[in-house]
Symmetry: C2
Subunit: 565 residues, 2 copies
C-alpha cells in the first residue's frame, strides 16, 4: 500500500509563488543589511546540545528539538543500562529480600506508587545528579530501605489489597522486589529524561540565531574584527504547539553588532528598520523603544527594585486591562501603596517623544540609573529627528518590556501599520554580556530581528508584493513535433543568453493542453513555430492577456518580450 | 566554568566571505534554472520518518538523522516499557524459577551470552514482529525454556566458572533469572533499535531533495501543472562519517521535471549544465552521458541479464583497473566466457560520440532494449550538436553506471576540467516511477544536480570567483565624536539611498584603530569628517589602495564612490 504523503505538523511546503514572495522579503532585508555594513554568516542547523541547553530557560530547553545520535546510539544506551541500572535493580531487589520487607502491597496501584517513588527520587538522598545512583553504594541502598520504612503507613493506605494479577504468582518477595525495581526504573527514566536525552542525543536543532551567533563570535574571535556587524537569515526550529501563525520551522532574520557600546548603533538600527520597511513599500510602522534602565529606575523609585519583573509584567498590560487593574496587580505582588501612588504621573504620560521624556524626568529624578536610561533615549531620539525617517515613526513606550531576561539597555519592538491587525513584526535590544556564557566577557551587543512570516502576511494583506513576482517564465514555445522543437530551441537559446526565461513545452501534445499550461503557469507570452514559420524563418507571437497574435522575426520577437507594449 | 565552544563534527560555520562565494554559486545556478523555466519549491527540513525510511536502502536508513519526539517522548517509552517489557521479564523470571533451571553460569561472559540471546531473538519463534513479545503467552515462555534446554552443552562451554561478582550474592535462581531477563531486555533493545527509534522518534532530517520532491508532487498533485519543472536548493543531512570534503550538513541543488517522457528534457539538461558552467566562467567540463538501456542491452547480449549490477560494477572500473582485471572480475561473478568475448569490441570503443555509437550498434544488434538506448542517445547527441555548447563537451561513457537502483533511461555525470583533480561535480538521470512510492504511478521524471561544495573548490582552485565578492562595505566614515558622527550619518543616509553600502565606525576610537578596521574589512574607501570639514561642508576622501586623499563635496564624494577611477 502506498503511503498517503503528509508533512510533520507545524511545518510547511512552499510553492513557487510563496518561495518567490519570501525571497523578495529576504532579498530586500538583505540588501538593506548590507547597505548598513552588516556581513552575512551562516551556522550549522544543529549545534552540540551543550551549546543550546540552558540558554533559553526551562521552557526553552523543552522546546529544543533533539537529534538522536546516529548509528549505535542504542548500544550506548544499552551499555549504560547494563552498567548502572540493572546493577542497581539487583542490589535493590537483593536487599529487599534479605531484609524481609513486605512490599507486595506496593504494587496495587501503579500510578500511586509512581508518585511515591517520584517523591523518593526527588529527595536529596538521591539528588538530581546521576552519579548518585551507583550500585553497591550502601548509602543509597539504606536510603531506599529507610524511605520505605518511614512510609509504611502511607504504603498501607496506598495499597489496601492485593492485586489480582499477583495472586497467580509465586509471591516471593524477591520477585516482587524485581517488579518494584522495574517500576523504580521506569519512574526514574521518566524523571531523568534530560539525562536519558543526553545519553541518546548530543545534538540539537538551532532554536534561535542569537546563541549560535554568540558561540560563533567566541569560537572565531581571532578571525573576526570587532566591532563585528553580522546578519544571519536562517531557519530555526521549536517544538512549540503549532497554531495559526506559529510554526515548528521558521526563518529568523537578525542583524547584530558586538564589540561596541556606542549608541550610534541604536540610532542606526532605527534607521535600518525604517529603510527595510520603506524598501518593502510598507508605510505606517511604529518603532517602539524603551530602555531597561528606565524600568529599573521606576522600580527603584517606587521601592520595588527586587520586583522588577512583577512590576513590568503588570505595567505591560496597561493597554489591555487599564490603570486600575494594573495597580491591583501591583498591589497583589506586594508593591507598597506609596510606591504605586508615586507611579501616578506615569499613567498620564502622553504626547511626542520629547513631551514624554519631559514627563518621565521628574518621576525618575532620584534614580541615577533611570536618568541614564532617559539620557540614552534622548540621544537616540534627537539623532533620529535630525536624520529623519521615511516610512516609520519612532515612539517611546515605557510599558515595553520584552526580553528583560537578557536586554540591559535599549529595547525595540515594531508594530505593523494600525490598519492591519497583526502583533509585533520585529524586535530587539541591547545585551551587555551575550558572549559571556561561552567565556568571552565584557563584549556588549545590540541587535534587531524581523518577523518574516508576519511581514509576509502584512504585505499580502496590503497587496504590497510586486506583481512581477508571480511570473517566472517569460515565454513558452509550443511544441509541434521534433523538427519544430529543435527550431524552437535555437531561438530559445538566443533568448536565454540575453536573460529571458524561456521554455519549450516538452511534448507535442494537443495545442489546447499546451496553451492551458501557459495559462496555469501565468506565462505572459507564447510562441508558435509550425511548418510555415520554419520555412519563412518567422515566429508567431501571442500575448496571452490580449490574445493578440503577430508574425515576427527573431529581432522583433526579442523586442516584444524585452519591451512589452 | 564557561564552555569552550565548538560545533558538531561534519558541520561548518561560514564566514562572510564564504557565504558570499556560496551565494554567488547559488545565484548563478538559480538564475540559469529560471532561464530554463524551472520554478523553486521548498520543503520542510524534517519529514515524517515514514516518508524517508526505506527509500535509500539499509545503508541510507542508517545515515538518516532522527529527531527525538519532543515533550513527553520518554513517558511514551516508559509506558511501552511498563506494559510490555517489564511484564515479559516477570513471566520469564518466574518460569525460570519454577522450573529450577540453573542459569547462573550464563552470566559469566556478557558478550557471549549476548550472542546467545541474539540468536534466540533472531529465531522464528520470536520473529521480527514486535507483537510477538507479549506477556503470559505460553508460546514464548516455552520457547525460551526450550532454547535454553536445547543449548545446555553450549551454555556449559560458554560459562565454565562462576562470576566473582555473583559470589557476593544470594545465588537464588530467581535473582539470576532477573539478571538474565534484564540482559535479554538489553539485547532485545539493541536488536530492535529501529522499533525503539520509531517509538521515541517520528521525524527525520531530509536526506536528499528527491524523495521530498516526490512526496511534494503527490501531496500537491491537484495544485500543480504537469509537466512540473521544479528546482530546489536546500540543505540535506547525512550521518556519514565526516571526512575531507564530506559533510553531515550540505546543500543540494536539484532541477527535475516530472510528467513528461520527452527526450527534449535530456537535451535541455545538457544545455543547462553548459549554461551554468559558462556563467561561472568554468571551461572544460565534460558532461558524460550513458543510458541504462544500453547497460541492460550489453548484459543481455553477453548472457548476464540477471547480473546487471555485477556486470556494471566491473565495467565501471575499466579506467582504474584496466581491461584484463575487469574481465577477471566478470569471470569471478559467473559471467560466461563466451559472453566476455562478445564484450571485446566494447573495450576498444573510442572517438567522437558518433564514432562510439557506430561501434556500439553492432554489439547491441540483437538487443531491442540496447538499440532503444542507442536511439535515445543519438537523439540527444544530434540535438546538442545542432544547438552547440559553450563551455562543456558532451561525451558518451558506456561505463557510467551511477544510480542504477533508480535510473531507468539517461544517466548523467559531470567531470570537472582535467586540470583540477576533483571527482564528479554533478550528476543525474531519468527515473520512470519516482512518485510511485507515494501512490502516484506512471509519472516519469528526469533531473540533474550540482555538487555545490566541489564546484566551490574548483572555482577557488582556478581563481574564478569575481574579485568584488570579498568587498561588502563600499565606504567607512571615521568617527571623531558625536557631532561629527551625526554629520557623517547625514551623508551616509544619502549614500545608502542611492545604493552605496556605507557605515560609520561606531566609536570615536583612535584613528589608527578605525583605519585598521577598514583594512581588515577590505573596505576600499574611507571618509573623514572633522571640525574643519563640518565648517566647510566638505569630506576628506581616502582611497585605501593608493592612500591618496582628496577634499570633496557631497556630489564629488558620490561620484568617486560610484565611479572609482
Amino acid at each position: 500500500m502506498a503511503q498517503k504523503p503528509s508533512i510533520p505538523k507545524g511545518t510547511r511546503d512552499f510553492n513557487p509563488e510563496q518561495v518567490a514572495k519570501r525571497r523578495y522579503i529576504f532579498n530586500t532585508i538583505q540588501k538593506q543589511f548590507e547597505r548598513f555594513g552588516f556581513q552575512p554568516i551562516e551556522t550549522p542547523s544543529f549545534e552540540n546540545s551543550d551549546t543550546l541547553m540552558g540558554k533559553y530557560g526551562d521552557e526553552g530547553d523543552r522546546l529544543i528539538f533533539k537529534i538522536l545520535n546516529s548509528g549505535d546510539y542504542l548500544s550506548k544506551f544499552t551499555q549504560f543500562f547494563n552498567q548502572r541500572t540493572i546493577r542497581f535493580f539487583e542490589a535493590y531487589a537483593f536487599r529487599l529480600h534479605n531484609e524481609n520487607i513486605d512490599v507486595l502491597e506496593f504494587l496495587k496501584n501503579e500510578r500511586a506508587s509512581s508518585t511515591f517513588y517520584q517523591r523518593f527520587f526527588e529527595s536529596e538522598l538521591v539528588g538530581s545528579d546521576f552519579k548518585g545512583i551507583e550500585i553497591f553504594d550502601e548509602k543509597y541502598e539504606s536510603a531506599i530501605m529507610h524511605t520505605i520504612d518511614e512510609n509504611k503507613d502511607e504504603v498501607a493506605i496506598l495499597f489496601n489489597d492485593i492485586d489480582d494479577d499477583f495472586k497467580n504468582f509465586d509471591e516471593s518477595r524477591k520477585l516482587v522486589a524485581s517488579k518494584l525495581a522495574s517500576q523504580v526504573f521506569s519512574t526514574w527514566l521518566f524523571n531523568y529524561d534530560s539525562k536519558v536525552s543526553s545519553i541518546i542525543s548530543e545534538k540539537a536543532l538551532r532554536y534561535d540565531l542569537t546563541v549560535p551567533f554568540a558561540r560563533y563570535v567566541v569560537q572565531h574571535q581571532n578571525e573576526i574584527e570587532l566591532p563585528f556587524k553580522r546578519y544571519q537569515i536562517q531557519p530555526v526550529w521549536r517544538a512549540d504547539r503549532p497554531q495559526k501563525g506559529r510554526f515548528r520551522e521558521f526563518y529568523q532574520c537578525d542583524a547584530d553588532v558586538v564589540g561596541s557600546k556606542s549608541l550610534w548603533q541604536e540610532v542606526e538600527f532605527v534607521q535600518l528598520y525604517d529603510a527595510v520597511f520603506s524598501a518593502l513599500g510598507l508605510k505606517g510602522t511604529t518603532i517602539k523603544i524603551n530602555n531597561r534602565k528606565i524600568l529599573t529606575g521606576i522600580a527603584e523609585v517606587i521601592g520595588a527594585k527586587d520586583k522588577l519583573i512583577d512590576f513590568t509584567v503588570a505595567l505591560d498590560k496597561l493597554d489591555k486591562i487599564g490603570e486600575e487593574k494594573v495597580k491591583d496587580e501591583m498591589r497583589s505582588k506586594g508593591i507598597p501603596e506609596d510606591g504605586i501612588s508615586k507611579l501616578q504621573p506615569l499613567f498620564g504620560i502622553s504626547g511626542s517623544f520629547k513631551d514624554q521624556v519631559a514627563q518621565l524626568k521628574p518621576i525618575l529624578a532620584s534614580s541615577e540609573e533611570g536618568l541614564k536610561g532617559i539620557e540614552e533615549l534622548e540621544f537616540i531620539s534627537e539623532a533620529i529627528s535630525t536624520l529623519g525617517l521615511t516610512s516609520s515613526t519612532l515612539q517611546l513606550d515605557v510599558t515595553l518590556a520584552r526580553g528583560l531576561n537578557y536586554y540591559t539597555g535599549a529595547i525595540f519592538e515594531v508594530a505593523a501599520p494600525e490598519s492591519v491587525s497583526m502583533g509585533s513584526i520585529g524586535g530587539g535590544g541591547r545585551y551587555d554580556d551575550l558572549t559571556g556564557i561561552f567565556g568571552l566577557k565584557h563584549v556588549s551587543g545590540v541587535g534587531i530581528s524581523f518577523g518574516l512570516d508576519r511581514i509576509y502576511l502584512v504585505l499580502e494583506e496590503l497587496n504590497l508584493f510586486p506583481e512581477t513576482i508571480a511570473k517566472s517564465t517569460d515565454v513558452l514555445f509550443i511544441n509541434f513535433g521534433d523538427k519544430e522543437a529543435l527550431s524552437c530551441l535555437k531561438a530559445i537559446k538566443i533568448l536565454r543568453e540575453i536573460g529571458v526565461n524561456a521554455e519549450l513545452y516538452p511534448d507535442a501534445s494537443k495545442m489546447k493542453k499546451q496553451m492551458n499550461y501557459a495559462n496555469k503557469r501565468n506565462i505572459p507570452f507564447v510562441v508558435l513555430v509550425g511548418e510555415e514559420e520554419m520555412i519563412t524563418n518567422t515566429f508567431t507571437f501571442k500575448e496571452m492577456s490580449s490574445g493578440i497574435q503577430d508574425s515576427v522575426n527573431i529581432d522583433q520577437l526579442i523586442g516584444k518580450i524585452i519591451n512589452p507594449s
